[in-house]
């Protein structure tokens, strides 16, 4: 049995941020995540570091939080934030009144917003629809959510934080009405681990009502599914937003080699049973295509959905629910932190840890806004030159990932999941979506003898089925050709057992 002070459940941005904050304040802690880092809403979003513009009219309070955090993250996470800048473009027919309210609210909050002509906007983003009336420039940025989680975890690990990924909390232990620990099952071996702590923080996003239930507690949540599509290449170097109240497909974000566009907003019940539908893909493409006409004939390599864990509200349209967050003290040693956004994860962590410090009657103030994220040098940017130097040993041609990198991750994490390698290297994220390199990555695991034939067959099947779920509704044109080839490789050439 393991003992610690604070148990964090959930390895999304919030959970990882809390781990970092606790580490910097010297509080022993243990983070438990049932999958990999950023597996929920954190990893299933645009990767947009909001300027606040999106919420400036509907929810000025959240907008202000976003802008403040935007500035902080640009400062502490210089290497994992791409300072793209963003545009809100007004198309013919979009309300001028909304634009006026937008500008007024930006001014009030202090978000820098500059009106530029359509000509100037086209200079900045040549692929923009030339018919736009005008644009407003704001300090939107893009951020890699997975990398962000990893960087937060580094601070925790450096200060003896204990991290268990692929461990699912199956039980919350209570004594005399108080939460005293958890039981967590290793998702690979099935082994059960018992961890005791004084406080349990439930940072499980869309799953937080389910985790709270394990302790007999309640979390009032509204779950809203948002779907996104990924393009084969970058169509814009700036974030492009539509100047109108939030609606489907009104944001396009450049991220690494691709663009993400979305989202939709559909109420759902079960966070484990969500699927994207083809009409969502079509809606996003046609709406994004209004801002960047090229979008219509661009290859879409994947579509995915995430679930926003929003605070329960009487509002029928989930887009009107506040993006603010809330800390719930269940009064039995468990706290749940819900709502919020990727952009405000640090602030959420700060408030959560402030609460814990009060509970422990400790005084050390939060430093997460001042100290730069540790380990950025190692993860910095996109070291293309480094990758190209080892061209002969490139395992993933789409994203130029070398064999040495794959071996390093396998050694570091001992993983048997290709997904864990993908998250850390971008292996399999390109146009072929892992069609070729998955066979290779598992082959390397075989060489290292860490995987059995059954495990590798299961891993291949699991990979193909997941991959398929992501691309199923984007299959036409070249992406369909690629898919047919991959299907032929695995079923026809490699004779994968279908079971």
């Amino acid at each position: 049995m393991l003992k610690t002070d604070v148990i964090i459940i959930g390895g999304g941005a919030t959970g990882c941020g809390i781990a970092r904050d606790l580490a910097l304040r010297g509080i022993p802690h243990c983070l438990i995540e049932k999958g990999d880092f950023a597996a929920g809403a954190t990893g299933a979003c645009h990767g947009l570091l909001h300027s606040g513009g999106r919420y400036v009219v509907s929810d000025p309070h959240s907008a202000k939080e976003c802008y403040d955090e935007n500035i902080i993250l640009r400062r502490i996470g210089e290497k994992c934030v791409e300072q793209t800048g963003g545009l809100f473009v007004r198309l013919p027919g979009d309300s001028k009144l909304y634009r006026d309210r937008f500008l007024k609210s930006c001014e009030k909050i202090g978000i820098p917003a500059e009106i530029i002509s359509s000509t100037k906007a086209l200079d900045l983003v040549p692929n923009l629809n030339p018919d736009i009336e005008e644009a407003v420039k704001v300090p939107d940025c893009s951020i890699d959510p997975f990398r962000l989680c990893m960087l937060n975890i580094i601070s925790s690990q450096k200060r003896n934080g204990i991290i268990f990924i692929r461990h699912k909390v199956t039980e919350i232990l209570k004594e005399h009405g108080r939460c005293v620990g958890v039981k967590a099952a290793d998702q690979v071996s099935g082994e059960i681990r018992e961890i005791h702590g004084n406080v349990i923080i439930n940072a499980t996003g869309a799953w937080s009502h389910l985790v709270a239930q394990l302790a007999g507690n309640e979390v009032p949540l509204t779950l809203s599914k948002g779907s996104l599509v990924i393009t084969n290449h970058r169509l814009t170097n700036m974030v492009v937003n539509r100047m109108r109240p939030s609606a489907d497909g009104d944001i396009i974000v450049p991220n690494e080699a691709v663009c993400l566009a979305g989202t939709t907003s559909i109420a759902v019940e079960d966070p484990d049973k969500i699927r994207i539908e083809s009409h969502e893909v079509d809606t996003i493409i046609s709406e994004a295509g209004r801002m960047i006409p090229h979008f219509d004939d661009t290859r879409i390599i994947r579509a995915f959905s995430g679930v926003r864990p929003l605070l329960k509200s009487a509002k029928a349209d989930s887009r009107e629910i506040t993006r603010g967050f809330q800390i719930i003290n269940h009064g039995d040693g468990m706290y749940s932190i819900v709502g919020g956004k990727l952009t405000t994860f640090r602030l959420m962590a700060e408030k959560m840890v402030d609460t814990i410090m009060d509970y422990f009657k400790l005084k050390k103030p939060c430093e997460t806004a001042e100290i730069p994220l540790e380990g950025q040098e190692e993860l910095s940017g996109y070291p293309l030159a480094k990758r190209l130097a080892d061209m002969k040993n490139i395992v993933c041609e789409c994203e130029l990932v070398s064999r040495a990198e794959v071996e390093r991750i396998i050694k570091q994490t001992g993983t048997r999941y290709v997904g864990d390698i993908s998250h850390r290297t971008r292996l399999g994220m390109g146009p072929c979506q892992g069609g070729f390199c998955t066979f290779r990555a598992l082959g390397i695991m075989h060489e290292k003898s860490i995987i059995s034939p059954e495990q590798s067959m299961n891993a291949l099947r699991d990979f193909l089925q997941r991959r398929f779920r992501g691309i199923r509704f984007c299959l036409w044109g070249d992406q369909l050709r690629e898919e047919q080839l991959v299907e032929y490789i695995y079923m026809g050439i490699l004779a994968l057992e279908r079971k």
């Binding site: 083809s278 079509d282 493409i285 002969k392 040993n393 490139i394 395992v395 064999r403 070729f436 066979f439 290779r440 598992l442 082959g443 390397i444 075989h446 060489e447 003898s449 059995s452 034939p453 590798s456 067959m457 291949l460 099947r461 193909l464 089925q465 398929f468 199923r472 509704f473 299959l475 036409w476 044109g477 369909l480 050709r481 047919q484 080839l485 299907e487 032929y488 490789i489 079923m491 026809g492 050439i493 490699l494 004779a495 994968l496 057992e497 279908r498 079971k499």
Partner: protein
């Protein structure tokens, strides 16, 4: 440039197109084949799948759904197309083993068994069960072959690694074509003192001379030798393509490479010519008849759009398997994907149904209802329909 007149123009340089072309050329017709690029045959294992649903491939064929294009061809024609194929490949020094009476296995790079019918002689010694003990040879840096997949599944298998100074299948195959390389390699093999009864290689044992190289290793080592097909680029697929192409040319056929068809000239019920934007070469080719063998999606014969599927050369009517939602089954592994049925519906003369043209014939993977992966019928179906379409075309032009 003046008008160039051929008897028949074939569109597509895959197994179906080259087969149909060779038959017509052999009969003395003036045949030209136009191709945009290399065919998908180059990506294939080189094996000829007739129908993998049953141990007896022809028995399997009889159980295919009524709409399957195999049913437009008699058993006799399927057998004849196989015999003819074996004969012509043997002539080109790339012989095939097997008969249409029974399926066999090749060992896959995952260590599983792939069911097929005819195999290149270099795969003839592949184990047919779990019993054979194997020694696998791999090459350092080769990223598309991991013997551990196989040794993890088979108790009686081990492997050794040779540094051949090349990390791609193509680079290795080119090396094996060199006498000095082969000699050095064989003496390395001899020093290994391999005890196992069979030696397995990823399919990189040369390009033109694979048969001879395999035999030479077998003789020197006193062991059976066989190749394991790799993921693309696949050498056995390329050898198959080269042999078919050379055979077609030997019979008098000609090929216009990098000649993408961009338009057609037509009168009421007749296609007169196909045209291409290629510079410095004939832009328009006339013929009495046209055989469409442009393949399915990967080959480029069909293109899927968001809401429909089109045929790219003659804009023939396409069987579209419903709305996009129905193109794929939710279970990836069911292989019950509607998209497998997409293609051109043909009548018993292999003319496209519900089209205006009387001088267009269709063969190979572009035909509707083939479900190639589900039925394991790729190249076999291309051979049979290639034969049938050529015969039908001859009946029309004579």
């Amino acid at each position: 440039m003046g008008v160039i007149q051929h008897d028949v123009i074939i569109i597509g340089a895959g197994v179906a197109g080259l087969t149909a072309g060779a038959i017509l050329a052999e009969k003395g017709y003036n045949v030209a084949l136009v191709a945009k690029g290399e065919p998908t045959a180059c990506l294939s294992t080189g094996c000829i799948d007739i129908c993998s649903l049953d141990h007896d491939p022809l028995h399997g064929v009889s159980h295919l759904p009524d709409e399957h294009p195999y049913h437009l061809v008699s058993r006799a024609v399927i057998r004849e197309s196989i015999e003819k194929f074996k004969e012509s490949m043997a002539q080109m020094g790339f012989s095939y083993i097997g008969s249409p009476e029974t399926n066999r296995y090749v060992l896959s790079a995952l260590g599983t068994f792939k069911t097929t019918c005819l195999v290149p002689s270099t795969m003839a010694a592949a184990p047919q069960d779990e019993k054979d003990d194997l020694h696998i040879i791999t090459f350092s840096g080769l990223k598309d072959f991991y013997p551990s997949y196989i040794t993890a599944r088979r108790k009686n298998a081990s492997f050794s690694t040779y540094d051949a100074g090349a990390s791609t299948t193509m680079g290795l195959a080119t090396n094996f074509e060199r006498e000095d390389f082969l000699e050095k390699f064989i003496s390395w093999l001899e020093k290994l003192n391999i005890r196992e009864g069979k030696i397995a290689f990823p399919a990189v044992l040369g390009l033109e001379s694979a048969g001879m190289i395999t035999k030479k290793i077998e003789e020197r080592l006193g062991r059976k030798v066989f190749e394991i097909p790799t993921i693309p680029p696949s050498m056995p697929g390329r050898r198959l393509f080269n042999a078919l192409k050379d055979y077609f040319r030997k019979k008098g056929g000609m090929i216009y490479w990098s000649w993408p068809v961009s338009g057609v000239e037509k009168t009421k019920k007749i296609i007169e010519a196909v045209t291409s934007p290629s510079e410095g070469r004939p832009k328009s080719l006339n013929a009495k008849a046209f055989i469409l063998a442009s393949g399915s999606f990967v080959g480029g014969g069909l293109t899927a759009r968001r809401d429909t599927i089109v045929e790219n050369i003659f804009n023939l009517p396409v069987l579209v398997p419903g709305q996009r939602d129905n193109w794929f089954d939710s279970d990836y592994f069911s292989l019950n994907h509607g998209i497998g049925k997409a293609g051109i519906i043909v009548d018993s003369s292999f003319r496209p149904k519900e089209a205006d043209w009387e001088n267009v014939f269709v063969c190979g993977g572009i035909i509707a209802h083939t479900d190639v992966l589900k039925n394991g019928c790729g190249h076999g179906m291309a051979l049979a329909t290639g034969h049938a379409a050529a015969a039908s075309c001859m009946g029309y032009i004579k």
